[in-house]
Symmetry: C2
C-alpha cells in the first residue's frame, strides 16, 4: 500500500468581512477526512456560548507562559492584555497523519510559521473590491460605525502584507471560492518537493528495468 | 470591465508512454477558449498524414537558421540531423490575449524557457510506477523490443531532471489527471505575483475609504 503523504500546512488570512470563516466551515463540512482546523489557545475569558477546545483552548496566564517556555506553540502574539497562540502538538499530529491543517491567523503569525516551516502555504482571502468589503463589514448590521471604522483601519494595515502570501483568492461567489481554496491546497501535494521519494523510486525502478 | 489577466505559460514534459499527448488533447477539447497549444517548428520532412501548422511548422534548414538568428524561437534543439524549436510570436500573442499556453517539450527546452521567463510553470507527467510505464510502452504493440528499450533508456535519462520541475503529476486515471493539470494551471492565476495590480488597487481603495 502507498504511504500516505504528509499533510499540507496552510495558513488562511484575509480581511475581516471577506468570508474567511465561512470558507473554512465549508471546507471542513465538505471534506471532513481531508482537513483539520487548528484551534488556538488564549488567555482571554470564554464568551457566552464558547466551549473550551471548540472556538479556543482557554488557558491561564501561567499555563500560557509555560507553553511559551516549553516551546509548545508554533506562534503566539499578545492583543490588549491577552495572549493568543497556536499549539504545536495538534498541528504536528494531524500533519503526520496525512491531514491538511489549516490555520486561520493574521499576517504576523503567518510569517513566523513560514519561517519555521518554509513549505507552509499562505493564502490571502479578499472580497472582490474595497467597496464590497465595506458593504460586507457594515452589512452584518451588528456593529456600530466605530467598529466598522476600526475594522476598515485594520484592513488597511493588513493590506500592506499581502505580497508575502503565495495566493490571493477573491471570494466573489462562496462555492467557487471554496473549490478554489480546496484545489490550491490539494495541488500542493503534487509539488515536486513533496514527492522526492516517489520520484527516486520510479528512477530506481526504471534503471533496474534497463539493466535487465 | 476587469482587465483580462495575462495567460500562464506552462511546460508539460513527461515520460513517453505517460499519456502526455492524450492529456493535452483532452485539455484543449474541454477548455478550447482557455488554452493554446504551441506548435513547434522543425526541419524534418512531414510524415504521411502530417499537416503544416498542425503537428509542426515544417521549415527549411535555411529558414530555421534565420529564425535562430532573428531570435524568433523561445528555445530550440537539434536531434539526429534535424532541428526543433518553439516559435516565440505565437506564444507571446496568445499569452497577451489571456490564453494559457502549453508547450509540450523535453527538459532541456523547459529549462531554457524558464531561464527566459521565470514564472513559467513546469509540470512533469508520470505513470504511477515504472512497471506501468513499461507496460504502456510495450502495450502500444506498434514498436519492436529495440524501440521499447530505447524509450526506456531515454526515460532513465529524463528521470534525472524531474527535480527541476514544479509539479509531479501521476497519470493514474485520465479524467482525474486532466482535471488536476487544469487545476494546477488555473490556480496559477491566483498567485500573488500575478495579482500585484489588483492588490495595489484594493489597498488604494481601502485607504480612500478610511480617509473619508
Amino acid at each position: 500500500m502507498e504511504k500516505k503523504n504528509r499533510g499540507v500546512l496552510a495558513v488562511v488570512s484575509g480581511f475581516s468581512g471577506a468570508g474567511k470563516g465561512t470558507i473554512m466551515k465549508e471546507l471542513l463540512a465538505q471534506y471532513p477526512d481531508q482537513y483539520a482546523l487548528s484551534v488556538s489557545a488564549t488567555t482571554r475569558e470564554p464568551r457566552p456560548g464558547e466551549t473550551d477546545g471548540q472556538e479556543y483552548f482557554f488557558v491561564s496566564d501561567e499555563r500560557f507562559r509555560e507553553m511559551i517556555a516549553q516551546e509548545e506553540l508554533l506562534e503566539y502574539a499578545g492583543y490588549v492584555n491577552h495572549y493568543y497562540g497556536t499549539p504545536k502538538a495538534y498541528v504536528m499530529e494531524q500533519l503526520d497523519a496525512g491531514k491538511d491543517v489549516i490555520l486561520e491567523i493574521e499576517i504576523q503569525g503567518a510569517l513566523k510559521i513560514r519561517k519555521k516551516f518554509p513549505d507552509t502555504l499562505l493564502l490571502f482571502i479578499s472580497a472582490p473590491d474595497a467597496k464590497t468589503l465595506q458593504e460586507r463589514l457594515s452589512g452584518r448590521g451588528t456593529e456600530d460605525e466605530g467598529t466598522v471604522a476600526k475594522r476598515l483601519s485594520r484592513a488597511c494595515e493588513e493590506s500592506e502584507g499581502i505580497e508575502a502570501y503565495d495566493y490571493f483568492v477573491v471570494n466573489d461567489e462562496l462555492g467557487k471560492c471554496v473549490a478554489q481554496v480546496h484545489g490550491i491546497i490539494q495541488n500542493e501535494h503534487a509539488r515536486v518537493a513533496r514527492n522526492l521519494e516517489k520520484i527516486a523510486q520510479i528512477r530506481a525502478e526504471l534503471k533496474a528495468f534497463e539493466r535487465r
